[in-house]
Symmetry: D2
Subunit: 363 residues, 4 copies
C-alpha cells in the first residue's frame, strides 16, 4: 500500500533497481484456475526488452522471467505469483560521473533531496528498466481478461518528434522497430534517418503513443474517484517520462460543442467514440482509447548546465547506454498498464455486482 | 477503500446525490491542532457554487457547510471531520423525461448497465454537484498546506471553446465570471457573447483550465506508481467531464528534444519548468503546473438520438438547469483536488522521511 | 484508509464524538439492488441504545437513523450510503472535572499525549457511543448476507464478572436486560442484584460475550494476513473495552492434543467445531464462533489516583452517566462487527473466485 | 492490498509455497538512511529455522536470506527491499497420500473448496514455512524501531500443553529449545520428556506464548478500527495455528472490577499494567504485553477420520516432517509480527502528528 504497489484487487508490487542483482514483482489477487507458464509472459517481455534495434539502448538483457510461486502444475492457485528477472548486463562504471551531479530532466535531483541517499547506477529505481516486471504482470492480466471476457489490447506510436504517423492497421506494428501502425516505407525510412541523426547528435526526442483495449464489457469503473478513466490516467502518467494523457477526444474536447462531443446511441450501439469508452467513470462497452505524451530521454550526451551535491555549478554529459526515444519501447508498457487497470476494475465490479454475463447483450 | 474515497493518509470519502437530502464528506487523517472553522471552508465553496452568473446553472444552492465532528473549541482534534451540505433547490420533475432514456455523453447509460438501478434526478451521484464536498475538503487541505509549508494554489480558464485566453495575472481571476486571468474587456465581452449564443442555442462547450501549486517543497512523491504526477493525473481525470491532463510541457513534450525539455540547474535553481515541478514522480520544489481539458456538458436542449431502456430509438432533449460550460466552475474544483493530492503526499513523505525542514535550504 | 475506516470492499467510515451535534458513517461498497429502509437498520440500533434498563447508562438517546444517500426508491444504488444519528442528550457539564485529569483505564491520557488536544465531553471520539453507526452499518451488512447467503448472526453474554451464564437457547436473549441466553429466573435475579450492588458502589465489572455466525459458505478468507480469523480478531479487539478474543477452542487449544483438536470429517460433515469455523484463514462452512473478554468501564465513581495535565497528583471520580458493565450492550456491537468482516470477505471472495454457488453442495 | 500484504505504510507482501523454488517478501516503505545487511536479518531467521532440536521439524533449511533491492552501499534507500530465501529441502513425495484427502484441522479442506486447486506439497501456501519471510521483514522493522525509538522485543513460551512455565527472566530464553524463560532444570527435563512421548505417539500439542514490546512511546495507534490493539490482534491471530489473543489482563478482565482493572497514574507513571500498554487504541508508553494460544499441529501420525475429494470416507495419517508443537518456534514469529504492527503505527503517527520527540518526556 506504500507507493510501490499498483491495483487494489489485482495488486502488483515491484522491486529492484537497474543495476541490482535482480528485478521482479509480486502479483497478489490473480484468480485461481488459469493456465499460466513463463512462455505466456515472455512474449510481452520480449516486445519491451532492450537491444532489439539500433534505435534503442544497446544494453543486453535476455529478460528471462522466472515464476517463483502461485502456479502449481501449470495452473494459478490464487496465491501470490512472484516473477523474477535477473539483471545481467550492468555496466555501473558508466555512472561514475553522475553520482555527484544531477541530470537535467532526471529524477537524480529529487531522489537525492527526498531520501538523502541515492543509487546512481543506471538511475537505480527510477530506471525504465523497472517497467519490465510491470510488463510481466500485465501479461498475466491480459491473459485472464482475454480468456474471461475476450478483451484485447493494442498500441502503437502515433508521433515521433515532429513526424506524425498515420494509422494504417495494427498488423504493421510488429514489422518495424518503432511500433508504428504503418507499412509506408518512405515514412519508416524517414523515421530511421531521424533517429540516426539524433543518436549522432547525442540528443533525444519525445513521442506520442496510442493504446486501445477492445471487448471491454459495459460497467467497469466507479462513480467518483476510482473512475476507470481516473485510474487509467494514474497508470499512464505513472509510466516513466509520460507528461500528458488523453482519453477519447482528449484535448480536442476543449473546442467541441456538446452536440458534437456526446456520442449518440442507436439500437445498433454508439455512433462515434468521443468518450473513449468511458462515461461517468464507467466503461461503455466501446473501445477504451488512450493517448500519451512521452518526453525525450533526459540522459543525453549533449552537455548541459547543472549543479553538484554541494550546489556548485557543473556540466553534465551522460554516457552510458540510453534510449534516444523512450517512447519507442513504451507501447508494450502502456498496454500492460491498461491491462492492470482493467483487471482491477473487472474484479472490483465482480465483487460489487457479481459476475458480468458476457454472453448476454445487456442493451 | 471502495471507490468513493480519495487519498491514503488524508482520506476524503464523499456521499450524496444531486437531489437527495444532503451531500457531504468525511475527512480522515487531518493533523490535529489546526484552527478550523466553517468560514475557512465556506469561501472556496462560494467560488464553486451555482447561480453566481447567468453563464452557469441557475440552481439556487447556498452550499452552507456544517462541520459535524473532528473540531473541538475551534481546533482540529485529529479525528474524522464530517462536512454536511443540505440540498435545497432540487427540482426533480425536470428529470421525468430522462428516467428511461440515456443522454448522449452522460453517465446515465453506464450507471444503469453497471448497477441495474439508477437515480435519474439531477444525474444522481454523477452530478457535478458532488464536487462541492470535495471543494470543502480541499479547503481544509489548503489551509494546512499553507500554514505548514506556505503552499499556495491558483487556477484559471485558458480556453473557452476556440477562444484562447492569454494569461494576464492571477489578480484578475475573481473579477470576471469565467475565472479568466485577464482584464481584457474586449475579450471578456466576446466570451460573454459566446456564452449567450450557446445558451440560446441550447448547446454547450468545452474548456481548458490551468491550475498551479506554489511553494511545494522538494521531495513529495513516490518513485513508482504513487508518483506525484500519477496521483495528480488520477485526481484531475476524476473530475467530472475531464478528458485530458498535462503536467508541465504536457503534449508539447512530444516534439521537444532532450536538450530542450530537460530543465537545467544553476546554483540559483532551475532554469525553466518544462517538468511542471515533478521529476521521477517527486516534486522538484518548483511550481506544480497542470492543464486540463474539460468536455462540453452532455445535458443540452439540442435534440439528440438515443435509445430507451428497452433498446428502442428515442430522441433526448434535456431541460433542467445545467451549466452550458462545466469548465467555468471547474477551477476551484481542480485547485481542491490538487490540494488533496499534495496533502496526502506531504503526510506520506513525513511518514517515510520525517518532517521536512522547510526553513533549511537543502541544496 | 486512515484509521477510521473498516473494511476494504464494504468500507465503513465513521465520524462524530459523544457530545458533538451528530454521529454517523458512510458505507461504501454496498452492492446495488437490495431493498433497504431506515426500519431495517433501526431494530439493531434499538438493541444497542442506552437507557433501556437500569443496568445501563441513563443517557436518553432515540438513536433514530437517517439514510442520507445511496438508496433510491427503497433500493440500494451501489453508491455510498450515509447514515446520520443526531446526538440529543449531551450533558457536557458532567465532564468539567475530568477535562484536566486522566481517568485510570481510559483513553483520556493517550489521546491527550497523541494529539495534544482532546474533546473531553463524554469521552469524545473514544466513547462507546461511536459504536452506534457501526451497528447501523452492520445491519445493512447482515441484511445482504442473509438475503444472499442465508447467513445469520447471534450473540449473548456468557459471564458477568464471576457469574457464569450457561447457554440455554438463543430465544431467551431478548427477554432479559443482559443479552443472556437463559431463562433461569434465579440466575437472572442474581445478576440484577449483582449489578444493583455495583451501581451503588460506583464501581464497574467485566464480562464475556459469545457471538456466532451461521450459514457461512466454505471459502471466505485469505491464506495469509487477511485471514478470516485475523480480520475477526481485529474487528473484535477494536470494539471499546475488549481485551481478549478467542475463535473456536480459543485458549483451550493450549492444552489440547492434535488428535483432540482437529475436527474430523465424515461424508455428513465435520465432527465437532474446535476450529470455530475457520481453517487456514478460510471459512469451513461451519458456524463461526467467537468469544470476547470485555474489561470493566473505566468511568467509575470510586476515587482513584491520577495526575493532571501538569503531571501533578490528582484524585479522579467520574460522575456523568456510564454503563457499569459495558459488556451488556456489547452483544449487538459484536454481531455487527462480525457481519462487517463477513461481508467484506464475501465480496473479496466474489472478486477473486466469482459467485459462490450456494445452491450447489461443494463437497 | 489483496490479502497477502501486511501493513499500510511499512507494507510487507510475501510470496511462495513450502515446496516451491523460493519464498520471500517485498518490504515497501522502509525509511531511508538505515544501515542494513543480510546479517542483521539472519539472526532472527536462525531463531525460527527448522531442525535446531529434536523437538521441531527435521526439515533441513539454512534459510539464508538474500537482499535483492532497496539497499545501496549498505544503506536503505527508501525503495522496496526484496528478501529471497531458497527452499532447499523439499521432500514432496511425503505428501502423495494427502493430495486427495483433507487433514483434520488443516487448511487442505478450505483451500480446495475456495480455489478449486491446491498445492498439497508441504501445505503449499498454508505452511508455517511462510513465516520465514515475515521474520525477515520483522528484523528490519525491529532494527529501525530500536535505533529510532529504543523499542525492544522479547517473547517466551508460558505453557506447553498442561505444563505451565513460570517466568524466570528473559536471559534464559536462548538457553533451551523451548523459548522458555526459565532455567529450572527439572521443569525443562519434564518438557523434554513430554515432547519425546508426544513424538513417539505421533501426536501434537498446543502452547501459550507471551510477547512484549518495551520502550514504545506514548501515542502510537488510532482511535477507532486501526487501534493499536486491534492491529496486534489481527497480526497475532493471523499467525498459523493461533486461536486466541489477549492484551494486558486479557480474559482476566472479565472478573475484574473497574477499581481493580484501571491502572492508576502517579507522577512517577502508571501503577500496574492491566491495560497491556494500550488505552483507547493508543499506546500508553508502558510495555505492550500480548499472550497467544496456539493450537496443536494438525499434521499428525495418529490416524483420523476424513473424506477424500469425492466426499467418500478416508483415514488420514500424515507422515512428512512436522513440528509436534508449532508453538515452540512461534516466539520469534510473534515478535516479528508485533514489530511490524509497531513500525506501521510509528510511521502513521509520524504522518499525522510529526516526529515524536523521544528525548523529551511528555508528561
Amino acid at each position: 500500500m506504500s507507493g510501490n504497489s499498483f491495483g487494489k484487487l489485482f495488486s502488483v508490487t515491484t522491486f529492484g533497481e537497474s543495476h541490482g542483482p535482480a528485478i521482479g514483482c509480486v502479483i497478489d489477487g490473480c484468480p485461481p484456475g488459469m493456465l499460466l507458464s513463463e512462455a505466456d509472459i515472455q512474449s510481452d517481455l520480449d516486445r519491451r526488452k532492450p537491444g532489439t534495434s539500433r534505435h534503442v539502448t544497446q544494453r543486453q538483457e535476455a529478460d528471462r522471467v522466472q515464476i517463483l510461486s502461485g502456479v502449481y502444475e501449470g495452473v494459478t492457485t490464487g496465491t501470490p505469483i512472484a516473477l523474477l528477472i535477473q539483471n545481467e548486463d550492468q555496466r555501473s562504471k558508466d555512472y561514475g560521473n553522475i553520482a555527484d551531479t544531477f541530470r537535467p530532466g532526471h529524477a537524480d535531483y529529487t531522489y537525492w533531496h527526498k531520501y538523502g541517499v541515492r543509487d546512481p547506477r543506471g538511475g537505480g529505481r527510477s530506471s525504465a528498466r523497472l517497467t519490465a516486471p510491470v510488463v510481466g504482470a500485465g501479461a498475466v492480466a491480459k491473459k485472464w481478461l482475454r480468456e474471461r471476457y475476450g478483451i484485447g489490447f493494442a498500441g502503437c506510436m502515433r508521433q515521433l518528434g515532429e513526424i506524425e504517423i498515420p494509422f494504417g492497421g495494427w498488423e504493421h506494428v510488429p514489422n518495424n522497430p518503432f511500433f508504428a501502425a504503418t507499412d509506408d516505407a518512405a515514412l519508416l525510412a524517414r523515421m530511421e534517418a531521424y533517429m540516426d541523426d539524433l543518436r549522432r547528435a547525442g540528443d533525444s526526442i519525445g513521442a506520442r503513443i496510442d493504446v486501445v483495449a477492445t471487448g471491454v464489457p459495459v460497467g467497469f469503473g466507479q462513480p467518483i474517484y476510482d473512475k476507470l478513466d481516473a485510474d487509467i490516467a494514474y497508470a499512464m502518467m505513472g509510466i516513466n517520462a509520460v507528461k500528458g494523457v488523453e482519453i477519447g477526444a482528449g484535448f480536442n474536447a476543449v473546442v467541441q460543442k456538446g452536440s458534437e462531443h456526446g456520442d449518440e446511441l442507436t439500437p445498433e450501439g454508439f455512433v462515434g467514440n468521443q468518450a473513449g469508452g468511458v462515461l461517468g467513470g464507467i466503461s461503455t462497452g466501446q473501445d477504451i482509447t488512450v493517448s500519451l505524451a512521452i518526453k525525450p530521454t533526459s540522459s543525453i550526451r549533449v552537455p548541459r548546465r547543472s549543479i553538484d551535491k554541494t550546489g556548485a555549478p557543473a556540466m553534465v554529459e551522460t554516457f552510458g547506454r540510453h534510449d534516444p526515444c523512450v517512447g519507442i519501447r513504451a507501447t508494450p508498457i502502456a498496454e500492460a498498464m491498461l491491462a492492470l487497470v482493467l483487471i482491477d476494475h473487472a474484479l472490483m465490479h465482480r465483487a460489487q455486482c457479481g459476475d458480468v454475463h458476457v454472453d448476454t447483450p445487456r442493451i
